[in-house]
């Protein structure tokens, strides 16, 4: 596959392109929801900062690494996995998957394959440092270590222990303290307690708004579509906690959901079934999945990826509470944690059926899916295991997916 034309690359990596694009996007999306427009602004501003000449430090982080760490150093967090989902959404992932094919097996995570393709095509903002964690994704640390050698930049990794024991917490705190110290040295920025205080407060404010939003989404009919919950809401959950833009986003989303709830409207008005979507992600390229669901009156009322699992952070114990946040992830540790959370979501969101999206390259997701399926079926909850791929459209079979979905919906009805 040919790499991107140098002039096009120059435009993609030029902050002025995004300064021009920003008002155009605003104009083009005037009729879109306010939270979606904030998400676009958030992305564009990040790209302007990350590609700017007098740029701040750019910290690449995988999606389960707490962004509070980057914001604490006034750095720009870049979430390559979210970027890969956007690239797939605009129909360009095939190009970058093809570029990386000589380096990574097609059996591995397509997020990682797409990111590597983007990196090999030199289209991403260059990282000052990369931080990754093994939280729910064992492959992440190895992949990001490879990327750090590719960019010749430092790689700091968080080895997340399995359980939530006292010793695990101590081990994690030890690592996070070292990461703060190392970052301070690498970036030549002293650790600023006042700034950390501010970031923790911002993060808690976002968290409490997300808690309210999740509560409001329990309304019948569903006031917010899961297809969007799995795209920009999830993107903000991964990328924005600790920032002020996150608060602006969640406030706008809360206003939107409140408006929909007050009008007693479902997002598309004909909700016959309420679906819970399991796994953090969905296919991001164009598919008919959500159209099929909608046509049958099935609404994804909630998504596991937006489940609020962590306790409020503690201003007086920022590192300890970030460690607790990491460890409390429902995908981390014994599967009972996830099963309990799924049961809670089924009850809270009055769920009629559960769809577990299972990307081919995601070992964590596929490994647990059949046990979750058995657990739900034993409890009388219709369950569909939907294998597929989030990024690679070549792994999508429209006919099979339609048959699986429709047969499942015929069972739920």
């Amino acid at each position: 596959m040919n790499k991107t034309n140098p002039f096009l690359r120059f435009l993609i990596k030029n902050p002025s392109s995004y300064r021009i694009l920003k008002p155009l996007l605003e104009l083009f999306n005037l009729r879109e929801k306010e939270p979606y427009r904030i998400w676009l602004r958030f992305l564009i501003d990040i790209l302007i900062d990350a590609f700017g000449k007098k740029r701040k430090a750019v910290i690449w982080m995988n999606s389960m690494t707490p962004t509070e760490i980057a914001y604490a150093f006034d750095a720009i967090p870049i979430m390559p996995e979210v970027i890969a989902s956007i690239v797939s959404n605009i129909g360009l992932s095939g190009r970058f998957l093809s570029i990386s094919e000589g380096k990574l097996s097609t059996d591995t995570c397509s997020f990682h394959r797409c990111i590597l393709g983007l990196a090999m095509d030199n289209l991403l903002p260059r990282p000052t440092v990369i931080i990754s964690s093994s939280n729910i994704c064992d492959g992440a640390n190895k992949f990001y270590h490879y990327l750090s050698s590719f960019y010749q930049c430092p790689h700091l990794f968080i080895d997340v222990p399995y359980d939530e024991s006292e010793s695990s917490l101590k081990y994690l705190i030890f690592q996070l303290e070292k990461i703060f110290k190392d970052l301070s040295e690498i970036l030549s920025i002293p650790i600023d307690q006042n700034r950390i205080y501010k970031i923790i407060s911002n993060s808690n404010h976002s968290r409490s708004l997300l808690e309210e939003i999740n509560k409001m989404r329990q309304t019948i009919p569903s006031p917010f579509p899961g297809s969007e919950g799995l795209s920009y809401l999830l993107g903000m959950n991964f990328w924005s906690h600790g920032s002020e833009r996150a608060i602006e986003f969640y406030l706008a989303l809360k206003r939107f959901i409140k408006m929909m709830t007050n009008f007693g409207k479902a997002y598309k008005n004909h909700e016959r079934m309420r679906i819970l979507w399991l796994h953090q992600i969905r296919p991001y390229y164009q598919t008919e999945i959500f159209k099929i669901l909608q046509r049958h009156g099935a609404m994804v009322s909630f998504e596991e990826g937006n489940y609020l699992y962590w306790p409020p952070l503690e201003v007086k114990n920022p590192i300890g509470s970030i460690a607790k946040k990491i460890l409390s992830n429902i995908w981390q540790g014994p599967l009972e944690k996830r099963l309990n959370a799924i049961s809670e979501m089924i009850k809270d969101y009055s769920i009629n059926g559960v769809i577990h999206f299972s990307p081919w390259g995601c070992r964590q997701g596929t490994g647990a899916s059949s046990i979750i399926g058995d657990f739900l079926k034993e409890n009388g909850i219709p369950f569909l295991l939907l294998p597929g791929d989030s990024i690679d459209p070549n792994n999508y079979s429209a006919g099979q997916t339609r048959t699986r979905l429709e047969a499942f919906l015929e069972i739920v009805v």
Binding site: W360, S370, G373, K377, P387, N395, S397, G399, Q400, R402, T403, R404, E406, A407, E410, I411
Partner: protein, 276 residues
């Protein structure tokens, strides 16, 4: 007379079936070819001609199979999973498990005591062990598709075929012939491998008696025997297993027709000549 039609547009063959008060009136099976829409029309025309029934006499049509979405003259569409379950329960009352091996996929469906679909599994990603797989193997071994089962039963020995990928299995089979193995021995090995694959897939479900085998591949006695061996149970095959999906569709057409009449709706009638 009240007549209902079911049309099952599969990846390899299209089936149309007319159902009346006395049961199945007539059916027809034709290759789908490149245009499923035309295949559906031809299939329906063929079954109408066979039974000397006019299209206007059909009260409602339900479409199923992979081509179901592009059939314009249907009143409704249902997945082949629900249709095979419904058709199998009609032909073999008390059926609790349906194994359907079609042209491009295989499905195992479990039913409750009221013949409602409880759960199902499908093959993932590739068409290994399906009708298409058998077609390719038949060609590689230079035997007729409908002779494969009978031939394999003549062999005492089963030659293991390790690859289930259609492309790799084809070259493996050719190399086995080159090594001097008999065609019937290789066929037996292929059937064993397909049946084992289905059996392994079924482990995700709670398979109960009676087990009904449907779809074109159910005509292959060799695969049926191996399925019986792996499941340790009798596998029941309807007289014409290929039309079970179309039968289920026709039965759904009847159900929808009456439920629409009860609900005062008039969504039953669509003509193929109006739409194509």
């Amino acid at each position: 007379m009240e007549i209902f039609a079911g049309i099952d547009i599969g990846s390899l063959t299209s089936k149309a079936l007319l159902f009346g008060e006395k049961g199945i009136l007539s059916y027809s099976i034709l290759p789908t070819g490149a245009n499923p829409k035309i295949a559906a029309m031809r299939c329906l025309e063929s079954v109408l001609m066979k039974s000397n029934i006019k299209e206007k006499d059909i009260l409602s049509i339900v479409a199923t199979g992979y081509g179901r979405i592009i059939i314009p003259f249907k009143a409704k569409e249902m997945t082949e999973i629900s249709c095979h379950a419904k058709g199998a329960s009609f032909l073999i009352p008390g059926a609790r498990t349906v194994i359907d091996i079609g042209g491009q996929d295989s499905k195992i469906i479990t039913l409750d005591s009221n013949s409602r679909v409880l759960d199902f599994v499908m093959n993932d990603k590739c068409a290994a062990g399906t009708g298409r797989f058998l077609e390719v193997m038949a060609k590689a071994l230079e035997v007729e598709l409908n002779e494969m089962g009978r031939l394999s039963l003549q062999s005492r020995k089963s030659i293991s075929v390790s690859s289930m990928c259609t492309v790799f299995a084809e070259s493996e089979v050719i190399s086995l012939i080159a090594k001097g193995y008999e065609v019937k021995e290789i066929l037996k090995g292929l059937h064993e491998a397909i049946a084992r694959r289905i059996y392994n897939l079924s482990k995700r479900l709670r398979v109960k008696d009676k087990i009904v085998f449907t779809g074109g591949v159910a005509k292959n006695e060799g695969i049926k025997r191996f399925l019986e061996k792996f499941f340790g149970k009798e596998i029941l095959v309807p007289e014409e297993p290929q039309i079970v999906g179309a039968l289920g569709a026709a039965l759904f057409a009847r159900d929808f027709y009456y439920s629409n009449l009860m609900g005062g709706k008039n969504e039953n009638k669509k003509s193929m000549f109006d739409k194509i």
